[in-house]
C-alpha cells in the first residue's frame, strides 16, 4: 500500500496535474467568495470541461475545487455577514462581529488556518478509512441516521440565544419549510400554498440567502456606513494562527464532526458547520462572548466544513453514493471520465484513490495560502461605503438564488424569506435554529419513517441508537449547564415600551402554524404525521409568545424589538423594502438584466449619490458580470413581460 501512496504523490506533483489543481483551486475560491454560489455551482462550471480530459488532470481540477470552496466562502461570511456558500453559515455568527470590531484579520487567519487543518484532517481520515470504512458506513442504518438528525436538532438549545421558546418555534418553522412540497411517501403537495414552485421543496441556497443575507444588507444600508466600524482591518494575522493552535481541541473535534457528517450519505454536508458551532458553544465554560465575536465560533465551523469533503468522499468512492451536494456532481464527473465509483474502484484502482487524497490535502494547503495572500485586498471591501457594495451584493445574491431552480419562484421566495428574516431579526426570533430545522427536516422525517417501516419499533434498542441518544443528552446537558449564551441580534437590548408591532409579528407566526395545521389535516397519514406533530406543538408555542407580548412591556425575553434603541438618523426599513420591490417590478417588466441595470443606476444615483460617470461604469460592469455568468452557466435570466412580447438578443432575453 505504501508504494501506491508514494506513486500517487509523484503523480500529483507532476507539472500538469498541479496546474489543473491550481485552476480548480482558483475557481473554487472564486465561487466560494461569491455569496450563495458554492461547490455545486463550481462543479457545474467545471464539469463540461472534464469530458475528454485525461483522468489525473480532471481529478486534479475537480478535487482542487471541492477542497477549497469552504475556505474561500469564509471571506464573505466574515467580511459581509452573508453566507459565502451553504458551508460557512455558522461562521457569520462570530466572524462578522469580529470584522465589525476591526478584528477581520484575526478572524480570517483563524478561519483559513483551521480550514487547512480541517481539510488535511479529512484527507487523513480518508486515507486511513477508505479500506475499512465499508462496515462502518453500513452500521449506520436508517435508525442511527435519524438519531444523528436528532443530535443536530439538539443544537437548537444553545443556538436560541435569549429566548428558548422563540428558538424552538424558529426551528419548527424551519422544519415545516423543509418539509413543504411533495411528501416523500405519497407525493402529496403538502404545505405548498398551492404553488408548483414549492412542490420540489424550497432550495437551501434560497432559504439561507433570504434568512441571512437580505436582512444583513438592509441593516447595513440603513446604518449607511462601511461594514467595519473601525476603519483598519487590524493586524492579528498571527493572532489568528495562535488562536487555532491554542484551541486545538475544538479544531480537531470539529474536524471529526465534519468528517462524520460528510461520511453519512443523506445528511448532507451543509449541517456540519452548525453541528460544530453548536458543539463549541455547548462545551464552552464561558459562553458570554459567543455571537459577539468569539474566535472559537469561527474555528469550529471552519475546521468542520473543510473536513466534510474528506468524509463525503468515503461513501462517494466506496458506494457510488455522494455524501454531500458537491460530491454528487463529482460523482457525475467520475462517470464521465469512465471511472466507475464503487467497491471495485477502491479494490482495483487504489492509485486513483490516493491521487484524489493527495490532491485534497495539497489543495487545502494551497487554498489556505492563497487566501492569506489575497485577504488584505479583499478585506478592503469592508471599508467601502456600503451603498456602493449593496447593489453588487444584491445582484450576486439574486443570481445565486436563481441558480437554484432557474425559476421566478427563486427570486420571489428569496425576497419573501428575506422579509421574514428581517422581522425575525428585529423581534428577536433567532434565525440559526430555522436553518438547522430546514436542513435536517428531510432527513429527520425520511429516516424516522424508514426506521419504523424497515425495523418496527425495535430500532429504538439498537446499540448505535442508544449511543447517539446518550451523546445527544450529554451535549444538551453540557449546553444548559454553564448558563445561557447571549447569541442575539447585534447586541441590542431590545427592551421596548411599544409592543404592538411585535405582537402583529407573533400573530403572523400563529397564523403560519395554524395554516400548517389546517393544510396538513387533509392529507393521508404518512404525508401528515410528522409535520403535523411539529405544527401542533409550534402553534401552541406561538400562541404563548403572542399572549406574553400582549400582556405588555415586561422583563420576559420573549418581548424584544431592536427598533427600540435604533440610533437616530437611521433610514426607515420601508425605504429599502421599496427598493427591493422596485428591483422586482423592473425585472418583472423588462427581464432581469435590464431590470437590474435600471436598479443599479437608480440606486447608485439616489442612494450613493454617485457621479454619473462612475455610475455608468459600475452599472456596465454589473451587466457584463451577468452576461459572463449567463455564458458560463448556460443560463437565461428571469424573463419579464418585455421578453414575452419581443424576442430580445442575448443576454437580454
Amino acid at each position: 500500500m505504501l508504494d501506491v501512496v508514494g506513486a500517487a504523490l509523484l503523480n500529483v506533483l507532476s507539472g500538469t496535474h498541479l496546474l489543473y489543481m491550481l485552476v480548480g483551486v482558483g475557481v473554487g475560491l472564486l465561487v466560494g467568495i461569491l455569496p450563495g454560489l458554492g461547490g455545486i455551482a463550481g462543479m457545474s462550471i467545471l464539469l463540461p470541461f472534464v469530458y475528454g480530459m485525461d483522468t489525473i488532470s480532471a481529478l486534479a481540477l475537480l478535487i482542487g475545487l471541492l477542497a477549497v470552496v469552504p475556505t474561500g466562502d469564509t471571506f464573505t461570511s466574515i467580511l459581509m455577514g452573508i453566507p459565502g456558500s451553504a458551508a460557512s453559515q455558522a461562521t457569520i455568527l462570530d466572524g462578522f462581529p469580529m470584522a465589525k470590531r476591526g478584528e477581520a484579520a484575526r478572524a480570517l487567519s483563524a478561519a483559513f488556518f483551521s480550514s487547512m487543518v480541517g481539510g488535511i484532517f479529512g484527507a487523513l481520515v480518508l486515507t486511513g478509512f477508505i479500506l475499512v470504512a465499508r462496515p462502518v458506513i453500513l452500521a449506520f442504518s436508517s435508525a442511527e441516521l435519524f438519531m444523528l438528525t436528532v443530535l443536530g436538532l439538539g443544537m437548537v438549545g444553545v443556538l436560541s440565544g435569549s429566548s428558548f421558546v422563540k428558538g424552538l418555534l424558529s426551528c419548527a418553522l424551519g422544519l415545516l419549510m423543509g418539509l413543504a412540497g411533495a411528501a416523500p411517501a405519497t407525493g402529496e403537495w403538502r404545505l405548498a400554498l398551492g404553488l408548483e414552485y414549492v412542490v420540489d421543496g424550497l432550495p437551501l441556497v434560497v432559504v439561507a440567502l433570504g434568512i441571512f443575507a437580505i436582512p444583513e444588507i438592509i441593516d447595513l444600508l440603513r446604518r449607511n456606513t462601511a461594514i467595519a466600524e473601525v476603519a483598519a482591518l487590524g493586524r492579528g494575522w498571527l493572532q489568528g494562527i495562535r488562536d487555532t493552535l491554542r484551541e486545538w481541541g475544538i479544531v480537531l473535534r470539529c474536524s471529526g464532526i465534519g468528517c462524520l457528517i460528510g461520511a453519512m450519505p443523506g445528511l448532507g454536508g451543509s449541517v456540519a458547520d452548525w453541528m460544530a458551532y453548536g458543539h463549541a458553544v455547548q462545551i464552552a465554560k464561558d459562553k458570554s462572548r459567543f455571537g459577539r465575536g468569539d474566535v472559537r465560533g469561527v474555528l469550529a465551523p471552519e475546521s468542520a466544513n473543510n473536513a466534510v469533503a474528506g468524509g463525503a468522499l468515503i461513501p462517494t468512492l466506496l458506494f457510488g453514493i455522494p455524501g454531500s451536494g458537491s460530491t454528487a456532481i463529482f460523482l457525475g464527473g467520475l462517470v464521465l471520465l469512465g471511472i466507475q465509483p464503487g467497491i471495485m474502484l477502491v479494490e482495483t484502482q487504489l492509485d486513483l484513490v490516493y491521487t484524489i487524497i493527495w490532491t485534497l490535502a495539497i489543495a487545502n494547503i494551497v487554498g489556505a495560502g492563497l487566501c492569506f495572500g489575497v485577504s488584505p485586498f479583499v478585506a478592503r471591501l469592508t471599508t467601502l461605503p456600503y451603498t456602493y457594495v449593496a447593489p453588487f451584493m444584491l445582484m450576486i445574491i439574486f443570481f445565486a438564488a436563481y441558480q437554484a431552480t432557474t425559476d421566478w419562484g427563486d427570486i420571489l421566495a428569496l425576497i419573501a424569506i428575506g422579509v421574514l428574516g428581517l422581522y425575525m431579526r428585529r423581534f428577536g426570533w433567532p434565525r440559526p435554529p430555522l436553518i438547522i430545522g430546514f436542513v435536517l427536516a428531510d432527513g429527520a422525517e425520511n429516516y424516522l419513517y424508514q426506521a419504523i417501516q424497515f425495523q418496527g419499533w425495535s430500532w429504538l434498542w439498537r446499540p448505535g441508537v442508544l449511543i447517539i441518544a446518550a451523546i445527544t443528552i450529554a451535549s444538551m446537558w453540557a449546553g444548559a449547564r454553564y448558563g445561557r449564551t447571549p447569541i442575539d441580534e447585534g447586541g441590542a437590548s431590545g427592551r421596548v415600551r411599544d409592543t404592538r408591532s411585535q405582537f402583529v409579528f407573533a400573530l403572523f407566526m400563529v397564523a403560519v402554524f395554524a395554516y400548517a395545521v389546517v393544510d396538513l389535516l387533509r392529507w393521508s397519514f404518512l404525508a401528515k404525521a410528522f409535520p403535523l406533530g411539529i405544527a401542533l406543538i409550534a402553534l401552541a408555542g406561538a400562541v404563548l409568545v403572542a399572549a406574553v407580548i400582549l400582556r405588555g412591556p415586561s422583563t420576559s425575553l420573549m418581548v424584544f424589538d431592536t427598533e427600540a434603541d435604533t440610533a437616530p438618523g437611521t433610514a426607515s426599513l420601508a425605504r429599502y423594502l421599496l427598493w427591493l420591490a422596485g428591483l422586482l417590478g423592473a425585472s418583472g417588466l423588462f427581464g432581469f438584466v435590464i431590470g437590474l441595470a435600471l436598479f443599479f443606476a437608480a440606486f447608485l444615483h439616489f442612494e450613493a449619490r454617485s457621479p454619473l460617470a462612475r455610475n455608468g461604469l459600475l452599472t456596465a460592469s454589473a451587466v457584463a458580470f451577468l452576461a459572463a455568468m449567463s455564458y458560463t452557466f448556460v443560463l437565461d435570466f428571469p424573463r419579464g413581460l418585455l421578453q414575452q412580447v419581443v424576442e430580445m438578443p442575448w443576454p437580454l432575453r
Binding site: Y51, S142, A185, G266, A328, F330, G332, G338, Y449, F454
Partner: protein
Amino acid sequence: MRNLKLFAAGLALLAALAPVQAADFSGKTIEFVVPFPTAGGSDVWARFFAPFVAEALPGKPTVVVKNVPGGGSITGTNQFVQRARPDGLSILGTSGSTQLPYLLDDARVRYELKDLVPVLVSPTGGVVYVNPSLGAKDARDIGKMRGKKMKYGSQGPTSLDLVPVLAFEIMGLDVDPVFGLARGPARLAFERGESLIDYQTSSAYLRNVVPLIKAGKAVPLFSWGVLNAQGEFVRDPTFPDLPHFAEAYEIAYGKKPSGTAYEAFKAFVVAGFAAQKPIFLPKGTPKDIVDAYVQALDKVVKTPAFKEKSGKELGDYEQAVGPAAQAAMKVALTIDPAAKAWVKDWLARRFEVKFEKK
C-alpha cells in the same frame, strides 16, 4: 391591407423556399436541454452524446448541455415546449421520469410528448435481485418466496420505481415498499439488510451489484427484458444469462403472465426503460433539420469511438435512431386506457395516492 397581404404572401413564399436549403449549423450553438440537475444519469448521458453530436452535424456546431432541473423533469420539459423554436438549435433529452407523469396525467404536465420529434432513443434495462437469506437461487425459486414478507426501498409510488412494485405484485410476492429512497440509498439499505429485494438500472447494476453477487451477498432473479422489432419482450442483451420478467413468470408458474395488470406493466416498462432516454426536436421542426439530425446520429452510433465507449457508459443496447426511435416512442407513449385506469386505481388503493385534477 393590400400591402399586408402581399407581405404575408411573400413570407409564405420564403417559407416554402427555405427547406430547399440543406441544414447547416456552422458557427451556431445548439442548446441540449436536460430537465435534470447536473451530474444525474440523464445529464451524464447528454454530456456523453454532446461532443459526438457536435462533430457529426453539418457545420460542426458547438453543443452545450443546459440543465433546467425541477419537478422531476416536468419543469424543464414544460419550459422547453413553451420556448424552443423549431430551428434545430434547441434539442431536449428526457427520460422515463418525464414520460411517467405524462402517462399518469400529472396535473403539472403541460407538454404533449407525441408532438415532439424523437430522433434517438437510448434504451436501458434493470435487474431485480434479492437477499440470499430468502433461499432463492434463481427465478425457479420465486414460488418459494411467496408469502415471505419483504421490504423494498423505493423513491415514491408515482416515480419510475412504480414498475418494480407492479412487477412484484404480478409475481405474487409480498413486497412492502418503503418510500423516500433514491436508487443509491435503496441499494445501501439492501446492503445493510434492511430491504430484502431491490433492483438497479443496468449501469448501476454492473457497477455496484455484480460485486455483491460475486461476494454471495445478492442473488439476481430477472431483468425487465427489451422489446424486439415485433414488439415482443426478449432477454436483455446486457444480461443474456438472466431470464426477462415474463420468462421468469413462466418459469415460476408454468404459464405466461396476462391480464390488465400485466398490460399496464408492459406499457410502463417500455416508457420507463426500453425507451428510457429520447432526444427530441421541437414540434414542427422542418424536415431538412430532422433529417440532418437523424443522419448525424446515425453516423454517431456507428463510429467505432462511440461504440467502444458507449458499452461502458450506456450498456450493450442498440441505440434507436430516426424511424426506429419514432416507433419506440410511439409504443412508449401509447397506453391502453383500461391499463392506465387500472394503475391509477391501484396506486390510489394501495398507496393512497391522490391525483391532482388537471
